[in-house]
Each structure stands twice: as C-alpha cells, then as structure tokens.
Assembly symmetry: C2
Homo-oligomer: 188 residues x 2
DNA sequence: CCGATAGGTGTACGCTTGTACACCTCACGG
DNA sequence: CCGTGAGGTGTACAAGCGTACACCTATCGG
C-alpha cells in the first residue's frame, strides 16, 4: 500500500479563493463562473469541483477572505493610534484612505452585501467583520460613538464614491461632530 | 390601410418593470431571467424582447423606478417637517421607518449598487437619487450637515439591518450630534 | 522494478439562458 | 365582408452553464 503522490501545489485552494475575488470584482457575482475562476487561477476546470463542493461554497470562502483582509487593515490603522486626536485621524484615513482607492474593495463590498441576502453564513461573516471593526474602534471611543463611527465608514465610503466633492476636510468635520460628545474610555 | 388593433394592455411595459423589481428582490440579479420576470408579470416570454432591447435595459429601468419611488418617499417625509426638531425627527424616521421595515428596499439597494459598477447609466441614477435626497435634506440644514445626514442614512440603515441592537434612541443621538453644529439656513 | 493507490483532470451531459423571428390575430378602412 | 398591416407571441437555436466521474499520472513500499 503506497502512500505516495503528495499534492503538487499545496496552495491551490487559496489560489482559487483569491482568484474568485478577482473575478467577482471584475464581472460581478452574476458573471462569476467556474470556468472564469479556473482561468484566472490558472488551474484546470476539474479542480473547481475537486476542491469545492459548489460555486456557493467558493463564493462564501472568497467573501470570508475579503472580510478578514479588510478587517485586519482597519485594526492595523486604528491600533497605531495612541491619542484621541490620532484615533480621529485614523478614522478619517479608514474612510478616505487607500483601502478604497481602487474601486476593488468597494465593488466587492456591494457584491458581498447583495450575496448576503441569500446566504446566512455570509451574513454571519459580515456581522463578525462589523464586530471586529467595533472592537478596534471601541478601544478609543465609547460604545455609542463606536456604533456611529462604524456606520459612518459605510455611509461616507459609499457616498464619496459617487460624490467626489465630499472632501477630506468634510470627512474630518463629520468625524469631529460624531466624537465630540464622546465619554472618553480607559483606552490604551 | 388599416390603423387598427390598439394595444390590449397599454400598461404592459410598466407591469413588466415592476415585476422585474420583485424578481430582483427575491432572487438577486444573478437569478433574474427573462423567463422569471415574464412569469411574475404574467406575460408571455415574447413580450420581453418586444418591449425591451435586452435584460440590461430592463434592469436599468427597474432601478430607475426604485430610485424614483424611494426618493419620493424621502421628500414626502422631509417636506412634512416645518421646524428644526421635526426635521431631525424626519431624518430618524427615514433611517428607521417603514421604508426599510421589509428587507425589500434594502435588498434592492444592495443589488442596485452592485449593478452600478457595470452600468454607467445606473450610476447616474444613483447620483440623481442622492442629489434629490440632498435637496430635500438641504431645505432644513446647511450643505455640510446635509452631506453628513445623507451618508448617515446609508450607513445606519445598512448597519441596523445587521445589528438590530442599534436602537431608535441611538439613531436619534447620532442625528443630534450631526446636526448640532449646523448653521441654520433660511428653511421654510 | 513493479503494482497499487492517492491526487488530480479532461470531457461530456443535461439544462437553462438570452434572443430572434416566422407566424398568428383581429380591428378597421374601403 | 374582405384584405391589410399593426401588434403581439410561441418556438427554436446556439451558447454557456454547473457538475460528475471515468480515467490518467506518478510516487513509493515492497
């Protein structure tokens, strides 16, 4: 009984998941097919059903990757802040910074929300993302303010992508207003 | 030369557009097909290509209907307010009120945003919706505050749908903070 | 050096899709 | 009462889809 024949490419799965995000970003979920993903990941079509039960599972895993990656970026930016002023500026950076420079992340978010309607597990992923994000914000602000800021990221990001006239200074002013009545917490 | 044979059902087009929104709400754009729309509108398949050039046109028109309808509702609620306090309460109602009671409108919004990535005309529809909405809000608040409130509708609506613990009072508090430094305009 | 077997893939199947268009219906001018 | 043409539809077609699985490949214990 031979054991033999190790996987040639142990990263195959991850490569496919990453490629899935690329395909969604470019074609939307309705244009995302096994064949296109296989082409993007440069793997044979057969690998799709070998590594994943179906398209739905693949999409779900892809969105988990998106949430993890983006969420980690939030945490990174917020944890770098040590003063209240820095924390405010960190919020401004999250809203206006390079995460959303490319339309990619924003596009993927839209598809994520749309997909979440049909998939409870993805809804869970979103809730987890939001909660992670609240933990990071909550290190600097009280709970009430934290909810407000978290929602502000969402709203301002979206609106800025359609209305570029919303300047950096306006975002700063909005963050200021939202944090003005904050009851400072222990913080770090 | 006969003139003859008037359309049996002059509302056909509108009926199809309305049915399209229903199908999108239930199945998402990726599950929206000519056949399903035809079934929902109780119209033969042939009517699809008779009244609309293609699926894309149909989706575009459907989203125009969504924008018009929802936007009109905003205006209605905001125009009913005559004092500053009422205007603030109107904002709270828009964010927490019956527009979003059913997941329908929110679901459709997600699909709208996702679709806008691929369709310039729909992006234009969104910009128009936002601008209408800003006009209505702007009757009560200064421009800067208006942008903030408009974005707050978006962010809070979305976040509340995932985090029901965001209460009405929290929304009120957030609207308060955003409008506190407002430089009152002439208003009505 | 030779099975045996884990790992991986090419191909083919049944189905659904968007779309076009040949055809049908029937109100009306003559 | 008939012929005409505007209005509308059933049907058929090619393309593309998800998915399953028979088959191939290459390693390694013996």
């Amino acid at each position: 009984m031979a054991v033999a024949h190790r996987p040639k490419d142990p990263q195959r799965r991850e490569k496919i998941i990453a490629a899935t995000l690329d395909v969604i970003a470019e074609h939307g979920i309705s244009g995302t097919t096994h064949r296109r993903i296989a082409a993007a990941a440069e793997v044979p079509l057969g690998s799709m059903t070998y590594y994943f039960t179906g398209l739905e599972e693949l999409l779900t895993e892809a969105f988990m990757l998106l949430a993890t990656t983006t969420s980690a970026r939030y945490v990174e930016i917020l944890d770098a802040a040590t003063t209240r002023a820095e924390a405010r500026e960190a919020m401004v950076e999250i809203i206006t910074g390079d995460i959303w420079e490319t339309p990619r992340t924003l596009t993927l978010s839209y598809e994520l929300y749309a997909f979440s309607i049909k998939n409870e597990r993805v809804r869970e992923v979103i809730r987890h993302w939001m909660s992670q994000s609240r933990v990071a914000i909550g290190r600097h602000f009280d709970p009430m303010t934290t909810y407000a800021l978290d929602a502000a990221i969402e709203g301002l990001t979206i609106h800025r992508s359609f209305q570029p006239e919303i300047t950096l200074d306006m975002v700063r002013e909005i963050v200021d207003r939202l944090t003005r009545n904050d009851a400072p917490t222990a913080s770090l």
